[in-house]
Symmetry: C2
Subunit: 671 residues, 2 copies
């Protein structure tokens, strides 16, 4: 254990130079002082529980020990959630929300909670897709955790393309039962969280056949394991899919069916129905199942992208304030590495990214809440735009976050490679989001489809004024004549010009290809690199403009406002310089202006420098969540590194048994 | 075990479309057919040994089990190297070279060999820095592995800046001994491979004091553990530094000294000397210790960058030929994902990168061999250029490789996240090289120093014709007038123009800042973002031009030449488009030409498509080295994924004990 020590001198000094009130920024991030209080109280309630402390960090355990420990903690964790529900009289979804967004869940179970899919997908799907009778039968039991469920959609050979799923479910009117089968190896369910050994129910997506006719994909509730013995039910083959880059406590599983029979009422029938005699009744609206899918993407942006960006920035900035290395001037003390321009360039954009994504996530969450009011009524008109924005924000946000986490890790040199920095775990959690819940390239192409459609609407002479985020397509071209200035407004307009021009280019490229006789689908595929880039450009224009709008519409103290503007200018400058070719080609930026952006970038780094530690302090992440020898609030980096090393079981004895077993005979044999 | 099966149909079909002889390319990569044979024979000798097979993959083991298994295998591995030395009459360094470059070592011990530092640094340092008497005393024992050593330079608080090391070594003329001490926590040695529990000797770098005067850093040979009991020697505190993102079998260690006494002859005295009475005799040339440092960087480029690029490309391309997903055209069979343009864009540049780095590495190795002929005679005139090229190639090469590995992993979707894809392990090995043996940003700045100095030479009116890679600085400007064509020669020239212009910009920026009164060091720091970018541009110009030169100076069949040109065009197009702003600003590329590069890129992807599998087959990486369920030669991806999953110890019993212990009481308590 690290003894309670005073704060590192360098870090203390940094905190005195901060020019703004860190609590003001904390409150803004949380969405108000009340939310800050709520978050702190909940975090304390969970993080102070001694049952969650690891004597030996999980990275030293075997896969099996790691899993067993995660189950032990998850049971305690879920019971505490119930406790808190009662103590605080808060809705359970709201508690989950705070736990996920603040990172409390992964602070307790580092490689993620095996029961998460139960809360985030199984339960919402029962509510969203079950009839009132089905809800009565299942929802209460799921809420009370007296059954544990998962959501089994993806198959070994099928991820992105849901229509390609192979699991079959055939209705047998004689017995009023469904019969589930996995006809091929590629039809094995593969990936669902908790499926391996940690739940006894699943919502299974399968191809429905009734009256000899194929009816497409439908959801079924299936019991997987006996509640008393936990043995797999008859006809069910089940296990975990094996070890992964991270998330090893999630217990992702596989599942195959051999003539598994289900009562008719175990098809979730809120939308489509199968009647006793096998008559099939279509869903009134296919889009009604959209809701849950979008929700998960929204949560990824809101909870994971922002939280891991802030954690990484905090760890790397604090460490860089403490770490001294090399000499700038001969004979002088080694400088803090935070004083190197190259180091600032790696880290300060991550601080800025954290905040621009916080603002984008707020917009997305509000939009989601408005369009789907409590999962009940869905505003179908606005659904496509919400879907398109959730897709590109999930894709660009998770990619940016993964790159930023890596950049922060590398900025800490070799020490960032140690597990006790927590970067390896953070990276494994964030990079997983690049492929799950919609592979990022696929998502960008989904957004692109919406963008091209909107652009077509305009080309056809109609307007898109009902679409909040699309109206720029009607006017971006007129902005190209204005002179360049390094103001936030001018730079924001440039992002819109780039996005608009790229969409225009894609639209006409596809059109040209089709006009030349190419099939529409081939034309789309041949343009798809450009289409993903157009989606990304659209997303960045949205993110930047949302941040700038936030600065204009919120009340900030002048001190904080200064800093927020600096961060906005920094991220604009960095994003423009990284895609300079686009801006030179497609916006009012001229080659002669490039120098001014480079100067703005360097100038922002210098101005942000004295507030760097203050900014990450404002992210207000407790040490238990950072879980990093490099990033703790007190900055006693080296003491912690040694203390962490000494937790290794290998260090518990001076000589490991491999000496007598292997090394000694080896050394002797070579004499 | 996966049963021997026929090759996947899609993969077999791909192999029939290949337009060139894969063996020709394999031989080129190996540096001749004789080398291919040698590599295959050595690989077979090692990989066929049943003692290296893992019943349970290491990712399921505890940290300690993993370590013990690595030691067991390492002892066998090193004995087999000795065996092979005798069988084949090959020099041991040549054997190591083949093992590392082909990836055999990490095929056997996945997270790297704990004894590597013994061979790659301890032994060469003894040879390079010991007197003939010292060599007689130590080298033979080290060669025979009857002592095992490491190289202890880096400290907890000191990595990059060697002069800042704090370990002291004070000469005591009375006893003719040195006294080693670790005066602070930050002076603890930290990171040396094998140091934890796997060696009994170290070369320790420490600040030498004789006659009360500080003499700077010198190397000492120190016994760490008793050879019979393996207990730490008196005054020595030692252990491992704890778990890491990867390389967990390397057993990186820490080490502290408390008045450890050494006989005088345990300072390595080939260069500087301390006489009996404490008189200090300076080294005739400080640069003589450069050699080993450069060697390791050269080996990183030659062995790791190329090998991990090729492994990743092989896995992802084969998987993409097998994986079918979504529908391009309604009603048609799901296409191979390799047919999606976006997928080709992720993977084919990695194939091209592999080959351009193979060529760059060949140049670097030849240069290294020429400049340091067998570590004995060092050509001091050419040392700075060699050093500068090794620095930037290590930095840019390892960064590119890390990004490419990630890109390949993500291109395999969720399945790439499974450990059995081998991407997580490959990534952990390659990303480690971004910070070890010279942090990449620091290395780029070292190259920049050389570039600025060379440019200054030219500005002073002198020429740099003695420097092989610098002469372009004298003429890049004149190229800016030539018209743009998408030929390799024109594009290569554009890379030189960008590099030259960026160096010019840095040179004059620094000059301007100094002229305005800024201290030289501050001016350097204020320009350092641009300086790293100039180094990178220089490196890319070198890599591209070396590849193009290789195509011109080697004999290839017309079929292979076609493909190599396509790959060259692809990588040029991709690198230009990713840095388009630079080329629009600094080269003869005009906005009107951008479209032609995008077309070239898309065209290359299409032309390479039929040869994609053939190209990665040419990399000729045995399944044992790929160690990937996704990338095996026979393409039976799904069978292997399931077989790998079933190796998980959690799948050995239907119900894990955590059910009775935790889940059952948890479910019941909520009723």
């Amino acid at each position: 254990m690290v003894e309670r020590q005073t704060v590192n001198d360098d870090l203390r000094k940094e905190r005195t130079t901060c020019t703004f009130n860190t609590e003001e920024l904390t409150n803004f991030i949380d969405g108000g002082a009340k939310n800050t209080d709520k978050r702190r109280t909940i975090a304390k309630f969970f993080l102070s529980d001694p049952r969650f402390k690891d004597e030996v960090p999980v990275t030293y355990l075997s896969h099996q020990e790691h899993y067993e420990q995660a189950i032990r903690k998850s049971c305690i964790f879920y019971k505490k959630i119930k406790e808190w529900e009662e103590i605080s009289n808060t809705h359970i979804f709201e508690i989950y929300d705070v736990l996920w967004t603040s990172g409390v869940d992964t602070a307790i179970i580092k490689q993620n909670v095996p029961f998460n899919v139960h809360s985030i997908m199984f339960l919402p799907s029962l509510i969203g897709q079950g009839t009132p009778e089905q809800q009565e039968e299942w929802v209460e039991r799921a809420f009370n955790n007296s059954i544990l469920g998962t959501y089994a959609q993806t198959e070994l050979g099928h991820g992105t393309f849901i229509r390609g799923l192979e699991t079959t479910c055939t209705y047998d009117p004689e017995n009023e039962e469904f019969i589930l089968n996995s006809p091929t190896l590629t039809s094995y369910k593969w990936w669902p969280g908790g499926l391996g050994h940690s739940c006894n129910y699943a919502i299974v997506l399968a191809q429905l056949y009734t009256q000899g006719i194929h009816r497409g994909i439908h959801p079924f509730i299936v019991q997987l394991r006996d509640s008393e013995t936990w043995m797999p039910m008859p006809g069910i083959k089940i296990g975990e899919i094996g070890s992964k880059m991270g998330m090893n406590s999630v217990n992702n599983g596989y599942l195959a069916f051999n003539n598994v029979r289900l009562p008719r009422m175990q098809m979730l029938m809120k939308n489509a129905k199968v009647h006793k005699d096998g008559t099939y009744e279509k869903s009134p609206n296919e889009k009604l199942t959209y809701g849950t899918m979008i929700l998960v993407r929204v949560l990824i942006v809101k909870s994971l992208v922002t939280s891991f960006l802030m954690q990484s920035a905090t760890i790397a900035v604090r460490y860089s304030a403490i770490r001294r290395q090399s000499e700038l001037k001969s004979g002088e003390r080694e400088p803090q590495i935070l004083d190197y321009q190259t180091q600032q360039y790696k880290l300060f954009p991550v601080i800025a990214s954290s905040l621009v994504y916080v603002c984008a996530a707020k917009w997305l969450w509000d939009k989601y809440s408005a369009v789907t009011s409590q999962l009940k009524k869905v505003d179908l008109d606005q659904l496509p735009e919400l879907h398109a924005m959730a897709c590109c924000l999930k894709a660009v946000g998770t990619t940016d976050a993964s790159i930023s986490v890596t950049s922060c890790r590398l900025a800490c040199g070799g020490h960032g490679y140690m597990n006790c920095s927590n970067f390896p775990n953070i990276y494994s959690l964030i990079t997983a989001t690049e492929t799950y819940e919609g592979e990022n390239t696929v998502l960008l192409l989904q957004t692109a489809r919406f963008l091209i459609k909107s652009y077509e609407t305009i080309q056809m002479g109609n307007n898109v004024s009902t679409l909040e985020m699309m109206s720029y397509l009607e006017k971006y071209n007129s902005l190209k004549q204005s002179p360049w200035t390094t103001t936030l407004d001018c730079m924001t307009n440039a992002f819109f010009q780039v996005a608009g021009s790229k969409i225009d280019d894609c639209y006409f490229t596809i059109k040209r290809l089709i006009d030349s006789g190419m099939a529409q689908e081939d034309a789309w595929n041949q343009t798809s690199i450009k289409l993903t880039q157009a989606s990304e450009a659209h997303c960045r224009a949205f993110v930047i403009s949302t941040y700038v709008k936030t600065l204009k519409t919120n009340q900030f103290s002048p001190e904080l406002m200064d800093v927020l503007i600096q961060l906005g200018e920094l991220i604009c400058a960095q994003w423009i310089l990284c895609r300079l070719g686009d801006f030179l080609q497609h916006s009012n930026l001229k080659p002669i202006n490039v120098h001014s952006i480079q100067c703005l970038l360097e100038d922002c780094l210098e101005r942000i420098r004295p507030n760097a530690v203050g900014l990450v302090d404002s992210f207000d992440i407790p040490d238990e969540i950072l879980d990093s020898a490099l990033g703790a609030y007190d900055g006693n980096v080296y003491e912690r590194l040694l203390a962490e090393a000494n937790k290794s079981p290998l260090n518990k004895e001076p000589v490991n048994r491999s000496f007598e077993l292997y090394i000694k005979p080896f050394l002797k044999s070579n004499m």
